[in-house]
């Protein structure tokens, strides 16, 4: 068992002098030295010192009925969001309000409700990886950072058809762009999309 590290005489720091984005942070557990940070982990001290930051973004996506072409775009931006040594998890929640005129009893019990939640989508990237993963209940895909791909973000079964919510996803070092955000079939969808991001950039 290694010697216990005695930090009882260490000074405390004033909060205004603390900069977790620059200062080197590690954990020490005096009651259980084995639970402290590893020397090996210190080699990656830039990772240890990263404080999670949380962001939210919301967009409202309301298209006219049977519009022939939908082209809606938004983006998430944070410095070094997709850097090789960054990690992030983005939860995307889709809330759809159907117009009553476009609902029929034959659409089934689910459409008794005007508000419908589509399956959540998660986009994430781990430390040291140059890939990001896009996952929801039915689909999963990966793409390289600084690339572009078409991805299905969620889906809904309605009026005897599957409607897939798709987007072209493009990334840079700081941003994820969602372009051509659309359903695969032309219908009236009044959709709010809420993004919640945890980033260790």
């Amino acid at each position: 068992m290694p010697d216990q590290l005695n930090i009882s005489n260490y000074p405390t720091i004033d909060v205004e002098n603390l900069n977790l984005s620059q200062d080197f942070v590690l954990f020490v557990n005096n009651d259980n030295p084995a639970a402290s940070t590893t020397p090996q982990a210190l080699l990656n001290k830039s990772i240890i010192s990263k404080q999670p930051k949380y962001f939210s973004r919301t967009i409202h996506f309301n298209q006219e009925p049977r519009q022939s072409k939908i082209n809606f775009k938004t983006f998430l931006n944070h410095e070094n969001l997709l850097h090789i040594n960054s990690r992030f998890v983005c939860k995307i929640e889709f809330i759809v309000n159907f117009d009553k005129d476009y609902i029929a009893e034959s659409d089934g019990a689910a459409f008794y409700h005007k508000t419908l939640l589509l399956p959540d989508c998660y986009i994430y990237k781990d430390y040291g990886s140059s890939n990001i993963s896009i996952n929801h209940v039915e689909y999963s895909s990966t793409m390289e950072t600084a690339g572009s791909t078409g991805a299905t973000l969620s889906s809904i079964y309605y009026n005897n058809n599957n409607y897939n919510l798709k987007s072209i996803i493009t990334t840079t070092n700081n941003s994820i762009f969602f372009e051509n955000l659309s359903y695969t079939r032309n219908q009236h969808f009044d959709t709010r999309i809420n993004f919640t991001i945890e980033s260790c950039a």
Partner: protein, 182 residues
């Protein structure tokens, strides 16, 4: 001082409640008491108040509390999930290090809630049906830096009596936080 860190032992488990952060700042090691935790609540109610067309929760107040939870350098993400038989849109409350406001994301958009205040009764979630019923989960949010707590109060699901199938409501709440006393 910096060489001391290289003698740290191998970890087996990490108990955030009894641990410290060591911060190397300008080549000096400082200690900072810290905790990292993930906690959760689940509330369910079958009490329907027909006079007010509402479902009230017997425990209409619940709190998350941890030392330094709302200190300057702390950060957290609190998610609230709502439902009756169906899932409602969720609400998310977040705080980042160095910020004196929390941001609440609901179906309506974003709202700032300053620390050491109690909000008005807010619409936390909403669901509509084709027959025109709109049900709302409502409640207040209190942020107390002196008590290091986040409190959800006056929790209620309103406007449900038109739909006999609705017999209960639930709220699931979970928080992931890094609380730091620097």
């Amino acid at each position: 001082m910096a060489q001391l860190i290289q003698d740290l032992p191998q970890p087996e488990s990490y108990d955030a409640n009894s641990s410290w952060l060591l911060i190397e700042h300008d080549n000096v090691l400082y200690k900072v008491q810290a905790s990292v935790f993930l906690d959760s609540y689940a509330l369910q109610s079958e009490y329907i108040d027909t006079a007010y067309r509402a479902i009230s929760f017997q425990d209409s107040i619940f709190s998350f509390s941890r030392d330094y939870l709302l200190s300057d350098q702390s950060s957290f993400c609190l998610s609230l999930e709502f439902g009756e038989k169906i899932k409602f849109p969720s609400a998310t409350l977040i705080k980042n290090a160095g910020e004196t406001n929390c941001k609440l994301l609901t179906f309506e958009g974003l709202l700032d809630i300053p620390i050491d205040t109690t909000s008005d009764v807010l619409n936390l979630s909403k669901y509509s049906t084709q027959n025109g019923r709109t049900s709302n989960f409502v409640g207040t949010i209190s942020l107390s830096s002196t008590q290091s707590s986040i409190t959800i109060g006056q929790l209620k699901l309103e406007n449900v009596s038109e739909l006999p199938a609705v017999q209960s409501g639930y709220v699931c709440a979970k928080i992931q936080a890094r609380a730091i006393n620097a």
